[in-house]
């Protein structure tokens, strides 16, 4: 059974990297090419370009209603602050240093797609995956609005969401070119 699962997983990404359809693996002759629908159903990792985003749309006003209706306020506080779960609004929103405004996902994330992706995959607690695409767009718009990232009337959809300019810009550390079997940081006192 384990083996069978290996190849289902393996072949799930053949189509994603633009490989022409392989009926079976060339060496071991197992597996099959997944259908576009099978991939779409699994493909919840949304990258910065937003190419995987589903159709749908939402605004901050709609998101404020979803925020109450889906119980977000119960853990994150009535206005995204002061709950038991991580704050969703900065306590120091005017600080010119973006990093000093706090570890607030809809403020510090380098891409708005990261916010959409996490609400979609991980919220609400114990009911993960139950939100519709429209609800996720609306919640993302609401959280970006209360952090002064977008105006209240902006409609977020698959086209507009990846274009949102996050306040952090590119002020975060880039990762080094990592090569296997080399020291992690040259000059570190080994």
């Amino acid at each position: 059974m384990g083996t069978r699962r290996v190849f289902l997983i393996a072949f799930a990404f053949a189509a994603l990297i633009g490989v022409s359809a392989l009926a079976q693996g060339p060496t071991y002759g197992v597996g099959r090419t997944p259908t576009a629908e099978e991939i779409r159903a699994l493909d919840i990792s949304i990258g910065p370009t937003g190419e995987e985003l589903p159709t749908g749309k939402g605004t901050a006003k709609e998101g404020a209603q979803v925020y109450r209706a889906k119980g977000c306020a119960g853990c994150h506080g009535a206005a995204g602050i002061g709950g038991t779960a991580p704050n969703l609004k900065s306590k120091d929103p005017k600080n010119p240093d973006v990093w000093a405004r706090g570890r607030i996902l809809p403020l510090r994330a380098p891409f708005a797609t990261t916010v959409w992706d996490y609400i979609n995959r991980g919220m609400p607690l114990n009911r993960e995956g139950t939100l519709t695409a429209d609800e996720v767009y609306a919640l993302t718009a609401y959280l970006l609005y209360i952090n002064d990232v977008i105006p209240e009337d902006q409609i977020l959809d698959a086209q507009s969401l990846p274009k949102v300019k996050m306040p952090i810009g590119d002020r975060y550390a880039s990762l080094p070119d990592w090569k296997p079997r080399t020291p992690r940081l040259k000059g570190y006192p080994y």
Binding site: L16, G47, D170, P183
Partner: protein
């Protein structure tokens, strides 16, 4: 905390080649099946080097709490990358900045700290004698501990009994393996005076485990009680032996 198990599986590179991996891929995203479907971006070079999709652990099927039916093993990397209940691997052309990746975010000028995540540095710790234990009196002891490194197999372990002034080569119990605990030992005749035990290891790519003082100097920070090691802490762990044989944390 540290642990080490024997894992059995299929090389991720085998699976990727079967899928016709092309040269343009630079990262992959591994995603678990748990509630939040945790996903991490990792370099494709690591996938092609030594990652395995594991179905076995210590000679039996991977247990549910350890990732049944499949767990991605990323040897030498931080624990969070070893994706349990593996659901999907997605090959991409950039760092994907999903939630787990966002959790690794560092400030703009902290690129060196960012470089210290992912691969674990060389680390060793003496497990006997160690904090909270009690030596009954002066005389012969076998000092023993564990060493490991995300850089590969441990090549050398040294033990000091005088707080790091003189280093003595330790012996290995068995052959050190890549990305695995190596048990080491050093024969010590304690004269009953105050002593400070330390161990440091060197791995197969030449990385040497640093002291906290060396790390503080690298970061140009004062080495006092406020100092904490940025990133994963692989510093030397000192144990203080008092005249009455009690063993306490040399960093405290």
């Amino acid at each position: 905390m540290t642990s080490c198990a024997e894992w059995t599986g299929v090389l991720l590179s085998t699976l990727l080649k079967e899928c016709g991996l092309k040269g343009g891929a630079s990262w992959f995203v591994a995603e678990g099946t748990e509630e939040v479907k945790g996903a991490s971006s990792m370099p494709i070079a690591k996938a092609m080097d030594d990652c395995i999709v594991a179905y076995g652990m210590n000679g039996e099927a991977v247990r549910p709490q350890n990732g049944f039916p499949l767990r991605l093993m990323v040897p030498g990397f931080e624990g969070i990358f070893h994706t349990k209940w593996l659901r999907r691997i997605k090959v991409v052309d950039r760092y994907y900045m999903n939630y787990n990746d966002y959790g690794h975010l560092h400030e703009g000028e902290k690129e060196k700290e960012a470089a210290l995540s992912y691969q674990i540095g060389p680390k060793s710790v003496i497990t006997f004698p160690s904090g909270g234990q009690q030596l009954p009196g002066k005389g012969f002891y076998e000092v023993s501990g564990l060493a490991w490194s995300g850089g590969g197999a441990v090549k050398l372990v040294e033990v000091s009994t005088d707080g790091g002034r003189k280093w003595n080569k330790a012996e290995f119990k068995g052959t050190p393996q890549r990305m695995a605990h190596a048990r080491f030992a050093y024969q010590w005749n304690w004269d009953g005076n105050e002593a400070e035990l330390q161990s440091r290891c060197t791995d197969e790519i030449g990385q040497v485990q640093p002291s906290r003082a060396q790390i503080a100097k690298f970061w140009n920070k004062p080495f006092d009680e406020t100092f904490s090691v940025p990133g994963l802490d692989n510093s030397i762990q000192p144990w203080r032996i008092a005249k009455d044989g009690s063993v306490t944390n040399g960093n405290a």
